[in-house]
C-alpha cells in the first residue's frame, strides 16, 4: 500500500464550525456583490482596478498552491523518492489553492457571464499574457484533479481503474510540472505592460523569473508549514528529517531568489529608490527582510532539524512571497491618471478573502479525515480534535 491513510475523527469540531460561519459570511457578501456591483463591497476603483481579490485570492492563492508543483519537481524530475511521502498533501494544497483561485476569479470579473469568450478561438488574443495565464490555470486545475484521482480511487477501493490510471499518470505529472512553470512566470510578466506605473523597485523584465522562483519557494514553505500544523492540531507524527531536507531546498531557492532579485536591482540601478523614505521603500525593506530572515533561521544543519525554526522560516517565506506579489501589483503601482487615487481593501472585501481561505482549511480537514492523504497517518489519541 501507499502508506497514506485517512486519519478519521469527527468533522464538525468547534474550529470547523467557526470556519463554516466565516465562509457563509463571505457568501452573503458575494451575494451583495452580484446584486449591486463590485463597487458596493470592494474599494477597487479606476486608479486601482485590481485589489486583494486578484492579488491575494488568485496570485497568492495559486502561489501557495505551488506545493504540489514544488514537490513533484523534486520527486519526479530530480528523482528524489525520499520526498514521496509529502506528495499527496502537497498536491492537495495545490488542488485547493488552484480550484478556489479559479472560482475566486469569477467574483472579481466585471463581466463574468461572458467568461466563456476566453475559450472562443475567434475572440482569443494570443499576445495577451492574461490569456496564457487563464488557459494554463484552467488546464492545471484539471491536471491536479487527475493527479489526485488515485487518492479517491484508493478510498473507493477501485484498484482496477487505479492501476490503469497509473500507467498514464506520468504524462499528467509532466504536464503538472510544465503548466505551473508557464503560468506562475506569466503572472510576473503580466505586470511588465504596466510600465512606469509600477515602481522600478519591482518593474523589470526579470519579473517572470522572480515570480516563478518565489512561487516555488512558497511551495516549499507550505509543505513544512502544513505538516507542522497537522502535527500540532491533528496530532499527526512529525517527519522531522524530511522537513529538514525540504527546508534545505527552500534555503537554496531563497538564496537564489535573493541573488537574482538584488542583482537585478543593482544592474538596473534602481536600489536608490529603496532609500526614498516613502511607503514603497518601507514595504520593499519589509519584503526583503521577510526573504532574508528564513535564510538566517535555516542557515545551519542543526537549525534545520529544529521544527520551531522550520515553522518560523516557513511562515516568513510565505509572507515574503505574498508581500512580493502585493508590492508588485498594488503598493508599487501608481496610476498615471494624474488623480489622487488610493486603495485599501474594505472590510467586506477582506471578509471574502478570509472566507475563501476558511473554505480551503475546511476542505483540508474534510480530505485528511476521510481520504488517504497524510503519510504514516495516526488516529488522533483523543476522540476530538
Amino acid at each position: 500500500m501507499s502508506g497514506h491513510a485517512p486519519i478519521a475523527g469527527r468533522l464538525l469540531t468547534k474550529p470547523f464550525i467557526v470556519l463554516a460561519l466565516l465562509f457563509m459570511l463571505a457568501v452573503a457578501i458575494l451575494l451583495a456583490r452580484f446584486i449591486f456591483g463590485l463597487g458596493a463591497v470592494t474599494n477597487i476603483n479606476d486608479g486601482y482596478p485590481w485589489g486583494i481579490w486578484i492579488v491575494i485570492d488568485v496570485m497568492i492563492g495559486t502561489a501557495i498552491g505551488c506545493a504540489g508543483y514544488a514537490v513533484a519537481l523534486l520527486v519526479y524530475l530530480f528523482n528524489r523518492g525520499e520526498y514521496h511521502p509529502l506528495i499527496r498533501s502537497a498536491l492537495m494544497a495545490g488542488l485547493f489553492g488552484y480550484t478556489l483561485a479559479g472560482i475566486a476569479v469569477i467574483f472579481d470579473l466585471g463581466r463574468y457571464w461572458q467568461f466563456y469568450t476566453l475559450l472562443l478561438p475567434w475572440y482569443v488574443q494570443l499576445n495577451s499574457v492574461m490569456l496564457e495565464v487563464a488557459w494554463c490555470v484552467m488546464a492545471y486545475v484539471v491536471v491536479l484533479w487527475i493527479e489526485f484521482t488515485p487518492t479517491f480511487l484508493e478510498r473507493l477501493g477501485w484498484h482496477n481503474i487505479r492501476e490503469k490510471l497509473s500507467k498514464v499518470l506520468f504524462f499528467f505529472i509532466a504536464l503538472g510540472i510544465l503548466l505551473p512553470t508557464m503560468h506562475q512566470s506569466s503572472l510576473g510578466t503580466m505586470a511588465v505592460v504596466a510600465g512606469h506605473q509600477i515602481s522600478p523597485l519591482w518593474q523589470t523584465q526579470m519579473l517572470p523569473a522572480l515570480f516563478l522562483i518565489s512561487a516555488l519557494l512558497m511551495g516549499y514553505a507550505i509543505v513544512p508549514f502544513e505538516a507542522i500544523l497537522a502535527a500540532l492540531g491533528l496530532h499527526q507524527p512529525l517527519e522531522t528529517p524530511l522537513l529538514a531536507k525540504i527546508s534545505a531546498v527552500a534555503l537554496a531557492v531563497a538564496l537564489f531568489f535573493l541573488a537574482l532579485r538584488f542583482g537585478d536591482l543593482i544592474w538596473r540601478d534602481a536600489l536608490g529608490l529603496a532609500l526614498a523614505g516613502d511607503i514603497q521603500a518601507l514595504m520593499f525593506w519589509v519584503e526583503s527582510a521577510l526573504f532574508i530572515v528564513p535564510v538566517l533561521l535555516l542557515a545551519t544543519r542543526t537549525m534545520r532539524t529544529n521544527p520551531r525554526l522550520i515553522f518560523l522560516a516557513a511562515i516568513s517565506l510565505l509572507l515574503a512571497g505574498s508581500l512580493y506579489r502585493i508590492n508588485t501589483y498594488i503598493i508599487g503601482y501608481q496610476p498615471t491618471a494624474g488623480a489622487t487615487w488610493s486603495y485599501f481593501p474594505s472590510v467586506t472585501e477582506i471578509m471574502v478573502t478570509v472566507g475563501i481561505f476558511a473554505l480551503e482549511v475546511m476542505l483540508y480537514l474534510l480530505f485528511v479525515k476521510y481520504l488517504p492523504v497524510l503519510h504514516g497517518a495516526a488516529a488522533p489519541p483523543r476522540a476530538r480534535t
Binding site: G37, P85, Q114, T117, L120, V129, V192, G195, G338
Partner: protein
C-alpha cells in the same frame, strides 16, 4: 479638475521611474507602425480657453449621463476625471498665484484628457478576448463590450489611465473614448473637435497633424496667426490668435511608440499629467518581447513537455514503482 501639487509630484516621480526603467529591456518585439491612413487629434493647450464645450458635446454624441463630483451640489455636469460616465475631461494646471495663462510658475494651463489612440496600445495587447481592438486603417482603438469579461487588465495597464469600469453597476462595462467612430462613419468630425471654438482640439490625418504641429513650433511668438478649427483642411473658418511660446516638442510623436492624439503646450508636459521620460517604444513591445521569446509557435513549451514526459517516465520506472504508489523506502524513518 485641478492638477494640484501632489499630482505634479506624483507625475514627476512616475517620470523618474520611467527614466530609470527606460533603457533596460533585454528582449523586445518590433515596434508597431502608424497606419498611413491613421486619424487623430492635435490638442493645443495654449488655444484652449477651458469652456468645456467639448465635454458637453462628447456626452451628447455618446449618450453619456452627467456626473457630479464629490460633495458638490448637483447643478451641472462636473466630472473630475474620465470615468464610466465621462470619456473626455478638461483639467486645469495651476501654480502659485496662477495669474497668467500658459506660464509654468505663477501661471495656469488647460489640459484635455481622453484616449490617446496609441500606435502600440497596451490595452489591446493586454486584453485576452480581443475586446479592445485597433482599426488597421484609421488606428482608432475601439472597445467591444459584447465579448469583454471585465478583468480590467486594460484599466490596469493603460499608461495614460484611460479605460474605466462602471463599479456601481452589477452589469458594468468598460468605457473609453472611441474617437466618435460612429460619427466618422457618417463622414463627420469627432464631437469634441467639431464644437471647439478656438481649434484647440483639431481633427485630421495624423501625418498632417504632425506637420501642423511642427509648423506651429516654427512660429514667431506674438505674431498674429490663423489656427484651423474643426478638421484640418476642412471648411470651418480659422481662429485668429497671437502665436504662443511653445515648449519645443510635440507630445505623442514618439512617446511610448507614438500616439494618434498629439499635444502642444507652453508648460512642460508633466505639469499636464502626461507621463514623461518614458521609452520610445510602447510597453507591449517589452512585455510581448518576453512572451514571444518564450512562446513562439509554442516550441519551447512543447520541447519542455517532451523532455519532462521522458524524464518523469524514466524516473518512475527506475524507482520500480508506478507513478503514485512508491515503495516507501523511507517509511520506516524515525517519526517524532
Amino acid at each position: 479638475m485641478a492638477l494640484n501639487r501632489r499630482d505634479f509630484l506624483k507625475a514627476s516621480a512616475a517620470g523618474m521611474g520611467g527614466a530609470l526603467a527606460a533603457d533596460v529591456h533585454a528582449v523586445q518585439r518590433e515596434p508597431k507602425k502608424l497606419s498611413p491612413d491613421a486619424v487623430g487629434m492635435l490638442y493645443d493647450s495654449t488655444l484652449c480657453i477651458g469652456c468645456k464645450a467639448c465635454m458637453s458635446a462628447c456626452k451628447q454624441a455618446n449618450g453619456m449621463p452627467p456626473e457630479v463630483a464629490g460633495q458638490m451640489e448637483p447643478i451641472w455636469d462636473t466630472p473630475l476625471e474620465t470615468s464610466g460616465r465621462t470619456l473626455n475631461v478638461i483639467k486645469l494646471y495651476q501654480n502659485g498665484s496662477a495669474d497668467q495663462k500658459d506660464r509654468d510658475i505663477d501661471g495656469y494651463a488647460f489640459m484635455k484628457r481622453h484616449c490617446m489612440h496609441c500606435v502600440d496600445p497596451s490595452c489591446v495587447s493586454a486584453c485576452p478576448v480581443s475586446a479592445m481592438t485597433k482599426d488597421p486603417s484609421s488606428g482608432i482603438v475601439e472597445h467591444h463590450p459584447d465579448r469583454c469579461i471585465g478583468c480590467r487588465y486594460c484599466v490596469y495597464s493603460c499608461p495614460f489611465g484611460i479605460p474605466k469600469y462602471e463599479y456601481d453597476d452589477p452589469f458594468g462595462q468598460i468605457q473609453k473614448c472611441e474617437f466618435c467612430s460612429h460619427l466618422q462613419a457618417e463622414g463627420k468630425v469627432p464631437a469634441c473637435c467639431d464644437v471647439c471654438p478656438t481649434g484647440a482640439s483639431l481633427f485630421g490625418r495624423v501625418d498632417d497633424l504632425q506637420r501642423e504641429a511642427r509648423r506651429r513650433l516654427q512660429m514667431q511668438p506674438g505674431d498674429e496667426v490663423e489656427f484651423p478649427r474643426g478638421k484640418l483642411g476642412g471648411g470651418q473658418p480659422g481662429h485668429l490668435a497671437p502665436a504662443p511660446e511653445y515648449i519645443q516638442a510635440v507630445y505623442g510623436e514618439k512617446e511610448l511608440g507614438g500616439t494618434q492624439i498629439l499635444y502642444l503646450s507652453a508648460v512642460p508636459f508633466d505639469r499636464l499629467g502626461l507621463p514623461v521620460n518614458v521609452p520610445d517604444v510602447g510597453y507591449p513591445a517589452i512585455s510581448e518581447g518576453i512572451q514571444h521569446m518564450l512562446y513562439k509557435w509554442m516550441l519551447i513549451p512543447a520541447l519542455l513537455l517532451a523532455g519532462l514526459t521522458y524524464v518523469v517516465q524514466r524516473n518512475i520506472r527506475a524507482a520500480g514503482h508506478d507513478s503514485d504508489t512508491t515503495s516507501d523506502k523511507t517509511s520506516d524513518e524515525e517519526q517524532s
